[in-house]
């Protein structure tokens, strides 16, 4: 007589066989990929448009920095007044006119540079031009001051402070970024999962109430079993959906990158020529290496186990509350007043995670919030990549499990009474009273 198993099976099968679930599962990654492809295509389209920029360099010093690229062409104007040049550029419908006055010293030249155009020019173009001009003028000024440019270049030093803990764990800035990315991803995943599937559980409870089947079921299954069965069955359906998303998403990404992919990568490279140059420099290769090292050095085993445990704990904690809300009300519109107290700690957890954990992963705020059960799953998952002692994780986990058992008990109480209550919307006071029934 395994009722829990039966309930889980039914919940899972009805969810998975539901048409809108199937449509969502298949369409969501398609839509996502289509959106990404569309954005990539559009930005490519934008970049493919050739821009011609006229340059009127009266100083004659800077002409040589303007080298044509695939999408940006420079048209160097000579012996023409500024007004004529403006007129010409406007008539020829060129992108814009860069004007450099002829002044005596370089500082004055630097101040005189202006860009004329019909519409506001693109931000990246301007910063690209600024970069080029800055470099050239700096070099010129250095020459003027009698500095040896080669020596100056040689004298440049790159600093990357190596960090090491007292027990010899090495970290670096890039390590921290990777850790943050991992922790943030895990925490955010949990957050999304709770919101999407918590709501699904709530709706499924409400459905049983509105279809009036609940009393029939409750005469065969204990309310706690029914509630847990719902939570587990819905979660399994959620995990199935996630898994399918990852598989479809992966396959589609492959297809898309084969079809358009090269173009996308190319575009992005051209988009940022400086980056392109940087990528080829030995420094960049070094940092790629350290990125891989950073991922490699993450406490992966700990991270995986903690992810599973905190994920389950946090999810169960919140989903039992969602189930209780579903039991307390008759329809979805009545759920609003009870949703806020659930969403608040969840959102708080994500904010605390993103703001304080970045600042100081082991500071007081982060530590405290990684032990408060309603925020601990998210915050702790974000902290763990930075190395949290196992005993601390255990304490947090024990608090979480204890609270989780309490909320399941609490939710079951509400659930048991609530599912048989119809009609009026209960108040918080009444919910407390239900605990004593």
């Amino acid at each position: 007589m395994n009722h829990l198993g039966l309930v889980i099976k039914r919940e899972y099968l009805t969810k998975v066989k539901n048409k809108s679930f199937i449509v969502m599962t298949i369409l969501s990654p398609l839509i996502m990929i289509a959106l990404i492809a569309l954005v990539a295509y559009l930005s490519q389209l934008n970049n493919n448009k050739e821009r011609i920029i006229s340059v009127l360099d009266e100083s004659g010093l800077i002409n040589d920095v303007f080298k044509n690229t695939e999408h940006t062409k420079y048209d160097l104007l000579e012996s023409i007044t500024l007004d004529d040049a403006k007129l010409l550029v406007e008539q020829q419908e060129k992108y814009g006119l860069l004007h450099i006055e002829n002044k005596l010293d370089i500082d004055a030249i630097a101040k005189s540079i202006k860009f004329y155009s019909k519409d506001t020019p693109s931000l990246t173009l301007i910063s690209d031009l600024e970069g080029k001009l800055e470099k050239k003028l700096t070099d010129l000024k250095r020459k003027e001051l009698g500095l040896d440019i080669e020596k100056l270049k040689l004298s440049e030093t790159n600093i990357n402070i190596a960090q090491e803990s007292f027990i010899g764990e090495k970290t670096s800035k890039i390590d921290n970024v990777v850790k943050l990315a991992f922790g943030g991803f895990a925490g955010y995943m949990l957050f999304m999962f709770i919101i999407i599937y918590g709501n699904m559980i709530m709706r499924s409870v409400i459905e049983e109430k509105t279809s009036r089947i609940i009393e029939v079921i409750i005469s065969s299954v204990k309310p706690v079993q029914l509630m847990l069965g719902k939570i587990i069955g819905t979660s399994l359906a959620g995990i199935t959906q996630f898994a399918i998303w990852i598989v479809i998403g992966g396959v589609l990404m492959q297809i898309v990158s084969v079809v358009f992919g090269l173009n996308i990568v190319e575009t992005q490279m051209q988009n940022d020529e400086i980056l392109q140059q940087a990528m080829q420099s030995p420094e960049a290769q070094e940092s790629m290496q350290s990125l891989i090292n950073a991922i490699y050095h993450l406490p992966l085993l700990n991270l995986t186990i903690a992810f599973v445990l905190f994920f389950i704990g946090g999810y169960m904690l919140y989903s039992s509350l969602y189930a209780a809300i579903g039991a307390a009300v008759d329809n979805e519109t009545d759920t609003q007043q009870f949703m806020l107290p659930i969403l608040m700690p969840l959102i708080l957890a994500v904010y605390v995670g993103f703001f304080t954990v970045i600042e100081d992963p082991h500071g007081t705020v982060s530590t405290v919030f990684s032990h408060i059960p309603f925020t601990s799953p998210v915050v702790m998952l974000m902290r763990i990549p930075f190395g949290v002692p196992i005993w601390e994780q255990l304490i947090s986990l024990i608090i979480l499990i204890g609270t989780f058992m309490f909320t399941v008990w609490f939710a079951a109480k509400i659930y048991r009474v609530g599912i048989l209550m119809y009609g009026k919307k209960p108040t918080y006071k009444e919910l407390i009273k239900w605990l004593k029934y």
């Binding site: 007589m1 009805t14 459905e207 009393e215 029939v216 409750i218 005469s219 065969s220 204990k222 048989l420």
Partner: protein, 308 residues
């Protein structure tokens, strides 16, 4: 042990509100037991306690001599008043699921479902979704699901609501047949004519208290007023009426008859034989109609509730 279900001084409070106050009932095996009472009297609470949905504050319930335990749900079939089915699930799948929750094996459940579906002429609904069926159709499926696992105790809360007269009659006959096959039935309803037709025993609950219970026939005897309905034809109507008035308590009666009769209700003193009345009447008039007034369940219900 002749009683299948015994409830001993069961009380249940919801906060300050008393839903049941020291209620005891005993349901004899193989009978139909009517649980009656006005709306909000506490019937549903008592039924939920029997189904272990609600836990009583005090008192105990025994099924077949054993204190109620979770495994007893397999022996109980419950058709609640607030009933429904999963709207988007197929009829067959749903019935199988509910049967398995009652502890039946899948294969066995399937076999018995086929039997019942054929019996109630609903065999071709197996793959339909509940939302495609009418309310009465869904009720039939609920009835099947309730009785499918052959429970010893069947509890029906307003079983006939939502049925047309033909189907209501069909269900009524099924209930009677189940009783004849040995099942015990608790039957909660407001419809007094079905109480008359079906119930062997009744208990009346009013404002959380049980105010009446026993065999229906005994209760009727207890409530009888020794009143006889008579239809007479005589030449001297007024004289006869006056004469009767001086001897008995009489009032006007209403019933259908073929003759243009004087219709009277005549109450005779306790202990006196109706033969004496009849003898007197035959001497003075022609007796076309002579019938003891038997209190109806409805009369008993209204009278008892009013007196409390």
């Amino acid at each position: 042990m002749n009683d299948l279900l015994v409830a001993n001084s069961v009380s249940k409070y919801f906060g300050d509100f008393c839903a049941l106050n020291n209620v005891s009932i005993a349901v004899p095996k193989g009978t139909i037991f009517g649980l009656l009472g006005p709306n909000g009297a506490g019937k549903t609470t008592l039924i939920r306690i029997i189904n272990q949905i609600t836990i009583p504050d005090t008192g105990s319930v025994f099924l077949d001599g054993e204190p109620l335990q979770p495994h007893h749900i397999q022996n109980i079939g419950y058709l609640p008043e607030e009933r429904g089915l999963y709207k988007t699930m197929k009829v067959g799948e749903q019935a199988l699921y509910l049967a398995q929750l009652k502890g039946m094996q899948k294969a066995e459940a399937k076999k018995r479902l086929k039997y019942w579906f054929e019996k109630l002429e609903i065999g071709d609904w197996w793959n339909k979704k509940i939302q495609e069926l009418s309310k009465g159709m869904a009720q039939k499926i609920q009835f099947v699901v309730t009785v499918l696992h052959q429970p010893k105790l069947l509890i029906f809360d307003e079983p006939f609501s939502g049925f047309d007269p033909i189907n209501a009659n069909m269900i009524k006959n099924e209930i009677l047949q189940l009783r004849d096959e040995g099942a015990t039935v608790i039957f909660s309803t407001h419809r007094m004519e079905s109480v008359e037709e079906l119930c062997d025993h009744i208990a009346l609950i009013h404002e959380s208290n049980k105010i009446l219970d026993g065999k229906l026939i005994d209760i009727k005897r207890q409530f009888k007023t020794n009143t006889f309905e008579v239809g007479l034809s005589a030449n001297n109507e007024n004289e006869l009426t006056k004469d009767l008035q001086s001897k008995f308590e009489i009032s006007k009666a209403e019933f259908k008859s073929l003759n243009n009769d004087i219709k009277l209700n005549i109450k005779i003193p306790k202990g006196e034989s109706p033969n004496d009345l009849l003898l007197y009447l035959t001497q003075h008039a022609q007796v076309n109609h002579f019938n003891e007034l038997v209190p109806t369940a409805s009369d008993i219900f209204i009278q008892t509730v009013k007196n409390n």
